[in-house]
Amino acid sequence: MESAARARNAADGEGIAVRVDGVAKAFPRRRSVRALLRAPFRRPPRVPALRGVSLEVRRGEILGLLGPNGAGKTTLLKVLCGLVLPDEGRAEVLGIPAGAPGLSRVLGLVHGDERSFYWRLTARENLDFFARLHGLTGRDRRRRVAELLGRVELARDADRRFGDFSSGMRQRLAIARALIADPPVLLMDEPTRSLDPVSAARQRQWILEELHRGDGRTILLATHNLREAEQLCHRVAILAAGRVRAVGTPAELRHRGLGGAAWRLRLDPLPPEIRAGRVTAREGDAGFPGEVVVLVPREEDLDVLLAEVKGAGCRVLSVRPEEPDLEEVFRALVTDGTGADR
């Protein structure tokens, strides 16, 4: 426990907790019986899951790994845990290479899969088993298990069977298990999957207040939920088809993803054409009559646009910055504009 706390507090000079450098991974595609009979010794074709992924998670940061299903999020988490060996590149947590002995002391994995417990055993028995695998013994183990059950607010239900738990309770027990060794870095794979909106919001709040602000843990959180990424994460890495499309704060990504800043203009009359910026919404979908939403690559381009509008004989009634919808940004970053994955 002490070593983990020391590792959390110590600075490694660069302040990087998780480093992924050019990680590529492809999995063999399952072949049909016919294909196997035709060419039994031919190597099966491989499907790329990660294509040269590089990213860094700073100490004490929550980084969201945001991507659609099949983007490679879970594969990347498994590479970091050493459960999958990368074909190329390297990954390390607090300087310890993925898969090396000692990694489990600095890294905890919160499984999204709520089946990963023994359903006939109680919460306490489940946690006790994993605590034994972590090398905890006797009174220390019992104390740690009781402490963790209290932390995740399961103390009163500690002696109920896991199978009788709600989804929210199961997720909290998964968090408790990941905290057994008190690791400074947590990997969370969709921690609010299968929770109702109220429980999900409560869970997010708990993660933010307890694990992040309270403990100061570094968290890499895989999710396909935009709201979750926005509420929890300092920075978000958008992963699609095995590639990192963009990394930045949610605010940065909003502008970068759309290729500029959006402005809502109220004009009288509305000109038939605006050449200096890309119109993303017109009267009707934009809101009030005479309103238009225009995207300009740089701030100074707004002056050019306004001059053009005035030159066309229109009066500018109001100019407001428009906060782009993150969902729109996400769609723009993971697709090529035609809706197909990039």
């Binding site: 899951a49 459960l83 489990s104 899969d113 089946r115 990963s116 417990f117 028995e125 088993f129």
Partner: protein
Amino acid sequence: MRDFLRIAWAFLVRDFQVETSYRLAFVLQVFGLLVSATLWYFMARFVGGNHPSARMLELTGNLDYFAYVLVGLMVSRFLDVSLHAYASQIRQEQTTGTLEAMLVTPARLGHVIVASSAWAFLFAAIQSGLYLVFGVTLFGLHLDVGSVAGILAALVLTVLAFSGIGILSAAFVLYFKRGNPVNFVISSMTMLFGNVLIPARSLPESLQWISRLIPVSYATEAVRGALLKGQGLREILPDLGALAAFAAVLVPLGLLGARIAVNRAKREGSLVQY
């Protein structure tokens, strides 16, 4: 070794907790053993009557058929567990998603594979003991114990020899997601040639040599000698030596195969898929 024992204890506690949550199943298993012992008692009476023929006594080494077959069944319980428990435990952990959770702890995969079967071995020992208790108390089995150490050594060496194949089978499961089909062949060959239910000497002469390639045939002979015929350690030493030789070859082979399979499974991402 200390790490391994700690992990094995963790699995024993866990499986005891799981098993005691299925109390009726436990009672039914004990009842099943009683039925099995009863079946073989009447089978023995049917085959040999109360007075076995000289030919049968010659083939079984002066044992009545019930005593002969009961020891065969006891040893075969350990054989079954050694061959199948590792693979079935790992498969179960894979499908329930708990294997992944175990592999992110400091516990080594090799330790997890072996230790996860600790309960199965303990249960096999309980089952074998119950066979013996039923045999002695209900069916008049006469014991003439020559060497308890010899019996234990024979069982441990049998477990080791077949564990090599069992561990390989678990690795096969990790990689291919299904049981090793060779296990069924080995089980069947063992029942036929391993002096379990029938003496290999009763088979056609042209087939009898196969029994010398099956470790269980040495184990059954050694346990029968030490448990029923009053033979000491020295008398069963040749059988123990043969078992040790099998173990010396099969255990490293199993561990090597497992290491290769696990590395491949990690590379192909199939370690924790189901």
